[in-house]
Amino acid sequence: MTNQIVAIGVILLFVIGATVVGMIPGIRQKMTLEQWAVGGRDFGRLLNWFILAGEIYTAFAFLGGSGWAYARGGPTFYILGYCTLAYVVGYYVLPAMSPMGRRHGLMTQPDLVEHLYESRSLGILTACVGVTFLLPYLQLQLTGLGLIIETCSYGLITRVPAMLMAFTMVAAFVYLSGLKGVATTAAIKDVVMILAVAFFGIYLPIHFFGSVGGMFTALDAAKPGFLTVPGGTKNLDVSWMMSTLVLTSLGFYMWPHLTGNSFSAKNPDVLRHNAVYLPLYQICMLFPMLVGFTALLIIVPALKTPDMAFMALVRQVLPGWALGLVGGAGALACMIPAADLILTTSMLFTRNIFCRTVGRDTTPQFQAKLARVVVLILTVIALALAIYLPNMLVNLLLTGYSGVTQFFPMIVLGLFWKSSTKIASFAGLIVGEFIVFYLILNKLDPLAIWGLHLNAGFVALVVNMAVFVIVSLATRTPAGIERKARAIDGMSSSPAASTTVGTH
């Protein structure tokens, strides 16, 4: 009984503590839309770090990282590689986006697209695609949260009350504080998560095997080849790993919420500086894997749900406070990214869909109020889906990364290549998404072709890129190139350039 009380106490401490911290910025000041959505664009290195780094360590990092290690072995190691490479991409892309955002009042990813291509319809399409992939990602955090709290409270707090409680709190601090709330709570989450995963990731293998190397030697002896690729799977081989690394490293910053987050930076130097140090944070991804591998050797009989590996092992071996720590850290790992996703989805819907179509004549004040209300509505919808239709969005989630990466040609080439055109963007995006959905819904991910196993999103991206380049070259005009140059370099002499996004 005491185990349970301690565990629940620790979890509640973290969850409520973070919520309170998250609400403070919103209570202290009345925020404009810009302060709410992009933190007033004055985040220095530290806050920017937490908001970018924090978004990576989600439910997936916690549950999926160890779950994959437990079930699949070697292929899991792709997780160690893709974020690292994403930061190289980010080093170039983010400092290009952020000043553009400041100069033209951009707050969201569709704002950026609309600015680069002077196309409201392309912006709306981008927003719709973005919402389509954010919703299941949001719902995943929620479902993960329910599982974590239920397991770590020894079943005393079941999933539905856990989800209701946690998400109400998330809605509260997002409503009040917007991005500043997300950033401050991310700081807490990151510290707690690093301490928790590092502690367990090192302690558990040593406890059972004397050292991390000892654990791996034992695992290799028990399951030869498990620790390489394809490891415990049939088709996640070397070509899968390489194509998946390409896809996920390019697609990383294509998630809508990360564009919004980067607009909060005080200046491009903040983003460049953090790009240098963010890779080091990656090492933390190793720790959940170590726990998953250890669990594979220790937990008998085998788990039905690999995602439970981390929690199951801790629960088996350590007392209530330890499980509470895992539960608290895990809960935060779900809540904070969920907050960012809710904020972003609300902005996409309010600003880039509603206010660009039906609500074209609304004032900025109305937009700010509406965005906050939409936060509450979205929370209710996400909760309803998670409770009543938990499997409905699984397919969308699987397509998630592959889906958002299709933005890559449009956004990255759009930022740097003056010949990129609007028509090419439509063409590439539509072709890319079509291929993604076709392959994944027909269970062709990875695609087995020419003796290789290629990540479906990677295939789509290659085709998308080819289409984009060819169509751009075919549809570019001298006037278009000049307009694009102005959009990129920010020298807007024409009045038309400033009325579209900046004043809303």
Binding site: V88, D220, L227, M242, I283
Partner: protein
């Protein structure tokens, strides 16, 4: 963008993606990690230094301009 920047940008990709076929093995176990895992983890400081190099080149250019 000069040649050094291109090289620094490519090195992490070659290390982490390009070398996978070669480093896909368990032995030798380095720092307690199976070799594939070790190689990818080693890619982290390699990338750190490359981006740090890029940052220094760009800072110097901004200072001089």
């Amino acid at each position: 963008m000069n040649a050094i920047k291109v090289v620094l940008t490519l090195i992490p990709f070659i290390w982490i993606i390009g070398m996978v076929p070669v480093v896909n093995r368990v032995r030798p176990i380095v720092l307690g990690l199976p070799f594939l895992a070790f190689w990818l983890v080693a890619g982290i400081p390699v990338t750190f230094f490359c981006i740090w190099g890029l940052y220094n080149i760009d800072s110097k250019r901004n200072r001089d301009s």
